[in-house]
Symmetry: C2
Subunit: 235 residues, 2 copies
Amino acid sequence: MKESSERNVIVLCSGGMDSVVALHWAARTHTVAMVLSFHYGSKHNDREIPCAARHAAALGLAHSTLRLDFMGDCFESHLLKNGGGIPKGHYEEETMKQTVVPFRNGIMLSVAAGLAESKGTSGLVIAAHSGDHAIYPDCREDFMRAMADAIRLGTYAEIALIRPFIDRSKADIARLGHELGVDFSDTWSCYVGGDIHCGECGTCVERREAFELAGVPDPTHYLNAPPLPPKPVAC
Amino acid sequence: MKESSERNVIVLCSGGMDSVVALHWAARTHTVAMVLSFHYGSKHNDREIPCAARHAAALGLAHSTLRLDFMGDCFESHLLKNGGGIPKGHYEEETMKQTVVPFRNGIMLSVAAGLAESKGTSGLVIAAHSGDHAIYPDCREDFMRAMADAIRLGTYAEIALIRPFIDRSKADIARLGHELGVDFSDTWSCYVGGDIHCGECGTCVERREAFELAGVPDPTHYLNAPPLPPKPVAC
């Protein structure tokens, strides 16, 4: 994990397993001024955000949710409530492109940067990791580097975009969270947004795989948990 | 002015004189899919956005306004309705820093990039110019370059951030608008957001100065139009 000097930070936390581990990591490494979630009209926002709020509360930290209603109203994606169904299968598959929310990370990071500057903090923590989805351009490291430059150059405080997991895999994050005592049963991944995790959408498959690879118990209740599909081989 | 090959673009248009000229330029140079304004809770949004809407309508173009209510609700700036008074004087003066809305350009460009990707367009036009306010970090060219990289790298369409005025001054823009027949009386600059332009805030002073330097008639009605203050000399 990349070390960085202590800062006063805002942690972007969706309530998913990666960002909840990032929050617990940040609470030990930095001074967390605020835990920030975004409600952008996805099918699973109402499932995941309460997890973020509960982890923040357990750590004694302030939690805020900003509404980005224009995304749900105007953008097109199967991830959004106004979009089509969530495909089953592995993340790398072409069908998962339907779930991209255009420039979602760019928008969330920009808004967080503005809020950070407004609140006098000097860093943002995001749980971007090495296994992040190459099918989504705004998850790739070259995007993250450019965005980090834009945020540093575009703010008086030269706000730093801290990516503690950028050299780590999702399995590494599961392992770290286990070491930190994170209650993974109170994190949410499933894009379908039902009562329990579906077990078969791209993000459920990725979650199950991470626990398995990490050798960490998976406390999640899945609606279905068929054998994990093999990763598609790149051509 | 920088030339660029024709694209299908969204034009960011606040209703100020620079972005209205950019809109008229874009309508001749590109295919304009949408004219986009943002309502972010500033004192002058309700004055300027109707100007953008009228210019779009006159050109037969679709106009949309996206609400960024979280900025007015959570950010701190004298430019916002919840903030303090707008200072008088020249833009370069230290007091004008009170009017910065943190990372405003980053946020608006990110949202526009997401919308552009969602709507299948391949470019954004922004009226950033060489005289843009060095006191605002997210108006500087090094920020714009990094943001252009982030938008290109973070979208499937590799959306281009087109800055036709980046090598031009505000006076150049006044001259170009005059040549294009832009009705400057239907553009709004004043940060105070009263019934008519105050004539004395930083953006009114800058507007008056641009017309004067360009040798172009200024059709604006100002509440007060005292002699223009000299530009502060950089130390």
